[in-house]
Symmetry: D2
Subunit: 369 residues, 4 copies
């Protein structure tokens, strides 16, 4: 079966292994006429690059993207956009040991069971480098959304026990802290916490929050293609994400209806809004025009330097100590991945919604395109 294609309309197919020749993505279904340059994409890829602070590995990964098809004279043509990133700094030698055993918390064992063998170099297809394709495609989706008035803001909400204070929210902190937290104070505390984790040869998890603004009401389809269901799949498909929330999320389970319901209110000009947004911008699976708020809970980096028990491919119980370069936390580099997946999901929903009424088709075709 095939698991590397996402979306129905703004359809993407990613490919590539950690230590193969290259990684990339094909976007099939991007509407024609979108201005698109290498820079538009590179800026997103740079956000997931390692080596930007002491929280991430000292590897140098250029991850320079090339647009191979689908644009002409600076605009998308409506045909598939093929994006490619060559692997340049991967050293296979670093990883040869893991060929012989199953790292706890990794997909080594499950890939072997599924496929009979695996590309063990750096995790192969299950490596975090797989997200390069997602982020490159997400950059294109985000550009399309921006043209349509939709903006996405994604940041680290928490690292281990340290949670950003929304009262101290500063947007510029997201890009300027190594944690991607929007709160300088919390970021410093989180950095200390991570330093302690590293000292203990351990790792930490955290929470990523994503807020989407400018979404028109009406996106999402009833029943199975609910907007929140598709966002959940999008975000849960990112390796290391173990929980997904929309709006108040888990907290709804202990709330009462009177507190959880968002009352509608009409302004003098007839505009209808909600007085609160416990629902996170989606009602009955369809966007209600308010901000969409979602969260992803990310597990600690499974590659830790403490000794661990495991089994080798010969079926023997062994003790291992992982070497190499590994970030003590996945969260800061995953922020842009969550944003990319949200952008891709929204782009699809924007297209799907265009045919919800017969009158829309009549208007469209009567204009004589």
């Amino acid at each position: 079966m095939s698991g590397s294609t996402f979306n129905t309309f703004f359809k993407i197919t990613t490919w590539g292994e950690s230590h193969g020749k290259a990684l990339g993505v094909v976007i099939d279904g991007c509407p024609a006429g979108l201005p698109l340059s290498v820079e538009d994409i590179q800026v997103y890829l740079d956000r997931r690059k390692p080596g930007q602070s002491r929280l991430s590995t000292p590897r140098k990964e250029d991850d320079a993207v090339e647009i191979l098809s689908g644009t002409f004279e600076g605009r998308t043509t409506g045909t598939p956009i093929s994006l490619l990133v060559r692997n340049t700094s991967q050293r296979s030698g670093d990883y040869s040991e893991i060929a012989s055993y199953y790292r706890p918390g990794h997909a080594d064992y499950t890939f072997d069971r599924k496929y009979g063998f695996r590309d063990y170099r750096g995790g192969g297809r299950s490596s975090g480098r797989e997200t390069i394709g997602r982020v490159a495609a997400g950059a294109v989706a985000a550009k399309l959304l921006k043209e349509l008035g939709i903006g996405i803001l994604t940041y680290t909400k928490a690292i281990g026990p340290v949670t950003a204070d929304m009262g101290a929210f500063q947007k510029e902190a997201i890009a300027s802290t190594p944690t991607c937290m929007p709160d300088y104070g919390a970021s410093r505390k989180a950095e200390e916490y991570l330093a302690a984790c590293m000292e203990n040869r351990d790792s930490a998890g955290g929470v990523i929050e994503c807020r989407i603004n400018g979404v028109p009401a009406g996106l999402g389809e009833p029943v199975f293609e609910k907007l929140d269901a598709n966002l959940a799949k999008a975000v849960m498909s990112i390796g290391a994400v173990k929980a997904f929330e929309i709006g108040d999320g888990c907290l709804v389970s202990t709330a009462n209806g009177s507190a959880n319901n968002d009352c509608f209110t009409a302004a003098a000009d007839g505009t209808i809004t909600k007085k609160t947004n416990h629902a996170g911008g989606i009602l009955g699976g369809i966007s209600d025009g308010s901000e969409i708020v979602l969260r992803a809970y990310v597990k600690p980096t499974p590659s830790i330097f403490t000794e661990q028990e495991t089994v080798n491919t010969a079926g023997e119980n062994i003790r291992i100590q992982i070497k190499g370069r590994h970030d003590p936390i996945i969260v800061p580099r995953a922020v842009v991945v969550v944003e990319a997946m949200a952008a891709l999901t929204l782009a699809d929903a924007m297209i799907a919604n265009m045919s919800s009424r017969v009158s829309y088709l009549k208007d469209f075709y009567s204009r004589g395109q």
Copy 2:
């Protein structure tokens, strides 16, 4: 666009409105030769029926299912299975008032914005009755899984502030308590809590947990069709679910890698298992052979009897008081819906996995089917 189809192989399409003539589902892709009777399906539908305790409405809904196609001499034929449930006890008069305004917490507003109008009778397609198709199809999926050695156990983990004690777990309590909790003591407390909610003209939320046993290693596809991503979409597509967890879920964000990693261990016979199961049975999106554990966080019933502010379809701010019959909690009736969605997702993954190796195809076709 179309949002009422789920799965790729064991594909289902549900249809029907709360107060239409009937509701149903077409299952396209169920393998041939599965023994299937009306009773197999009815027992699942009966689990979502109201009127079974004072926690649910006194409405009598027979929800008798009819198999219209796809079986012959008691077995599935491999062709589409059409299941139908006639609406018998719906009284449109009860609901006419809601045509004129947008109920907080409901999809009235978003349906109007998307489609220009809506079938307002009982919520139309956004009603909880929509789940009849899911549950009927889920019963067939569960029967298939049972033939393949997979069992699913689903129950209420928490209602409002009351959480079941896994130490006091008693399987038979799930079916015999009105809460579907596996802990008689917690169930009694939850009933008291709900009685208080009702007294306050309010409602409550809760948590549903689902455990899947007997799952072979290897299910799920890398990247976008990860087994947990598909389970997330399946469960988040159920109305009122606002958060989804796999394994330790949200807790991973505060755990360290050394505590979160599950070590592998090999038994004398070479069987490999994990010593713990923080991952909830899935690594890298692929089942690892241990129990799959997931949770759904369900919001309080939005139809409450306290006065609420909202807007009517004329765009005026009004105050409303919802009438009629409404459960103070969605959770107990949603337990079987979560189970159905999990079963459907697993059935699809079981089929998808059959072609993961060339050797599987060679074995299959060399046997000369």
Copy 3:
């Protein structure tokens, strides 16, 4: 796997066996606001009914359709439209003999090989009655297309050696002749030919032509979702169709480029048309605004009353003589099936095309739906 779903946007799923309880279709993705009545659908179903002339069987099949969901106050709601036709006149006794052997030209053998057994009553799912779902859904698609200015005309082009003379084309002949030929003279000759076939206990084939008018330029997607490729699949999926042509079809293989190319010409008002239409209205897989012309070549009814050799389910060579009621020709009843499949394909293409340019999305969302 599942083979009973067609289209991506205007998605249909058919179900039902010849001698089961009922047959039907679920349409998921019909835009909201389309006026739709039982009569709109029944008039299409009546065109495929037998018993209307001596060319078809004397069976009385009411095939009365019921709309079970998806409409409210006479208009589609955007949610799935479930259509049901009860089987009323099927007598299982007529068909019990065919349980024991494989009829030449039928799917008895291949169903047994695929599924291990089959619903042998009247061919089960491989019966021509399977087309009831297609035609019912096609009626809804045709209604949508009509709202958008698209009309479809389908008729019998040839029966055995008798071909309709396009010079003698009379539209009203299509509905008023038992052959559905648009030429009264040819129809009479074809009837004589068929009478001779029946006398010989034999059957005949023929050609169906479909012409689609009012199609805007731009429908169809490059490469695999070419409009002609999708029309080919749609039409070739009808049982008994063995060849498909678009425009000049097979004749292009012996034509020269200078004769086959259609020159463009601009009218004084700037309208661009083609001087000829060898291409049948599609260039590079995309509609060019001229009439779409396609043809289906239909095999003779495989159920003939002459003695035939075959094999029984015990693997013995036997001679059989088919009994019962069988039309000497499939073509006249298949005319509306071809039309339905063409309408469904066009409806999907009309929706798909709406997102081909970024400017279309900007226009759409700036209007504030």
Copy 4:
């Protein structure tokens, strides 16, 4: 919308323009463990290369393929296989003139109408070079099929008025004649015919036949995913194909049932075969175990050197004379494209069929993969 993805399981997505940086394909869903080398693919690509005889253009196109992902130690890993062919010999200068007008028989006009503008260099995405992705993927599918005992033979059946004589069939002629005809005598006559066409500044069409052997009975799904319907779509999606036949094809329309039906017969060992094969190997949309025979009717090259009337992008009527290098016939280079599309379709059907019976799933999972 997206039109560059084909198949459901052995899913391919092609990309690339005639004069862009590169063309390629991503194969997602190829089972793990298939031995695969660059040479396996290059040999197929070489069959579609021009410059191999005086019938094709003197351009030198290396079309050297690179495998970027999805293999490890010479075998497929089950993850996406990304194949890339750099464009090396395209000179944009050759084509700049066609930016200003619509070539008859080409997709210039329809692309402009659909997308608002087009990559006019060499036809962009509508160029014949688009088939590079199909052929590269088809080579992988063919390799998989070969492992499963399926072989495909494809050749030119006719060029203009010259038809190969199946009595004079010689397999080696297919590769050794410039026409790809399996009959040396006919090939010489066809070459003479084409020489005359070139002298007349004209072009010719022809017929491609494809025969598939070793196909097990049971492939294809009833109703819409019939094997012949999918083959029709596959082949009709190739630019320039205007008609598709299976088995006797168009001829069935004039045949009688007694002549068209294929009688079954059982050998002493119980093997069931058909005495004839008018059906072309498919009954009721499902393979019957005999040879699958299909034909594609290909139009003459639209780029001819005679003067033609057309319209320019300013909407003026003009006369044009196409320059550059253009083959007088498409057929010989399209032979391998038809073969590739057939192989891809079969690969998908082989996978889809594995889940047709519950007993297959039970067998599979009881073996403990």
